[in-house]
Amino acid sequence: MDYSKYSIGDFFMDESFQDFARGTNPEAIKLWTDIIKQFPEKEEDILEAKKLIQSISLNKVKIDPKQFEEDETKIKEFLNKQEKIEHKQVQFVNWSTIKIAASITVFMVLAALFYQYFSEVKTEENTEKQTIAFIEKNVPKGQKLTLFLEDGTKVKINSNSTLKFPAHFNTDKREIFLEGEAFFEVKRDTSRPFIIQSKNIATTVLGTSFNISAYPENPLVKVAVVTGKVKVEDTNNTKTGNNHAVSLLPEEMATFSSSSGDLKKSNYSSIKEIGWSDGIIYFENTPLSEIIEMLENWYGVEIKSDNKVNTREIYTGTFKDESLENVLNALKERAKFHYSINNSKVNIYGL
């Protein structure tokens, strides 16, 4: 683009320029800093347009929490009333592929309970001169855990995952370690980037929401972005090509293959990658063997199938907040099996 013909008005009207002036978007800041270098004769106009935008940029209105509580109560009361009117019809999610009528099992996640329930291991690690106390949270199969870190960042940890983080963050960065899967809503703090180390992948952000899936048994590490901007880096630099790092925007996902060392960027299906954080089990053209693994993780059970079950057959389905029985009931018709549940052991018999 030839910015030498741009007037103050043109700069003012340009949406990426507006982001630059407000300093909200690192990509815009970089872009326009480069443009100023390229067109030094426009610097004065650019500065004036920038000041104009800054002078009319506005704060958010502060809302009294009491006001919000009152209004929220009203809308909840309204919903309860409506529910009675609707004769307690059972609602269930039926996406196109498999339709299952079933009752909803309600997941009550009590953060306080989890705090006592989950093992809390404090370890000490030496980093150069100072000692940092780390807290380790192990979430077993069949469970999920939501927690808030010291800086206000919200982390929802999926089953069979471990998060390790310092009791207090450094002044220059917020660094944590993940094995398994978690959904992050990172509190914005431009002075302290938030870094998540998982396998060979470092994910760096300032403040956004995104999902990371990095299970030890899965050769793929996936980082899916919902809001904001995220940088994903291969910390091993196994490949000498130029794909050690990719930048992701909303609706983009990075997939790192630990076997080939490839780091690729693509779009993703939101329900598939982060449905779990809303209580949704989703599989699409997935072999029964993998579905069984997913269910073992999700419900914390052990599933054994006899050799009459064809575990290579593929299925597609969506379940929200369903009990294990309901999921198995829906599957047994199609996959043609019987099952029995004995405590946390499930046996599947082919027909």
Partner: protein, 193 residues
């Protein structure tokens, strides 16, 4: 982001209360801020927000598929407030031309750079904004308060792209004229921002 939004919206349409409350939570602040700015009436804004959400829940199965939830709700709120205010002004025998219905007042607390400038500069900026038409102020509000893109602002205000640009451009011209003298001082001070 719209992938997530679409998912949330379709869950709400299927009667998922959590999804509905999530939409309510994540949009309450922006809806209240915008509604209060354009109507200048806190109670009315709160009532109308409740009404539109109650309305949405009742119509959930027939409501359109929405990609940009925030813009959709802002537009809904704007229309509902407009109807209420028009009725009220009519009953008082006042002018009900849409251009004059909304006041969009901007106060010192609203200015993002309030702490970086002097009282004098602050007054000049507010004066400059006060001299714009209500529609110009509304667009500035949507653009520089909530960082909505031009497409979303077009949806909310029902202006086409060209008139939106023209309105914003006119606002810019008047701002520059009013702020011209002090912009030099201004440059020196907020250059360090």
């Amino acid at each position: 982001m719209s992938g997530e939004n679409l998912n949330l919206w379709s869950l709400f349409k299927k009667g998922d209360k959590d999804a509905f409350l999530k939409i309510y939570h994540s949009n309450y602040e922006i809806l209240y801020s915008y509604g209060f700015k354009i109507s200048g009436n806190s109670d009315l804004t709160r009532d109308v927000i409740q009404e539109i959400f109650a309305d949405l829940w009742e119509k959930k199965s027939t409501v359109a598929d929405v990609v940009h939830i925030k813009a959709y709700l802002l537009k809904y709120l704007r229309r509902a407030l407009l109807t209420k205010i028009t009725a009220e002004k009519k009953s008082q025998g006042l002018n009900t031309n849409e251009e004059n219905l909304f006041e969009v007042s901007i106060s010192p607390e609203d200015l993002l750079i309030k702490n970086q400038i002097s009282k004098e500069q602050e007054r000049k900026i507010l004066d400059a904004l006060a001299q714009l038409s209500p529609r110009q102020r509304e667009i500035i509000y949507l653009k520089f308060f909530d960082e909505l893109d031009y497409q979303a602002i077009q949806d909310i205000t029902s202006l086409n792209y060209q008139s939106l640009r023209n309105t914003l451009h006119k606002a810019l011209q008047s701002l520059r004229k009013i702020l011209a003298i002090q912009i030099i001082f201004f440059l020196l001070i907020i250059n360090r921002l």
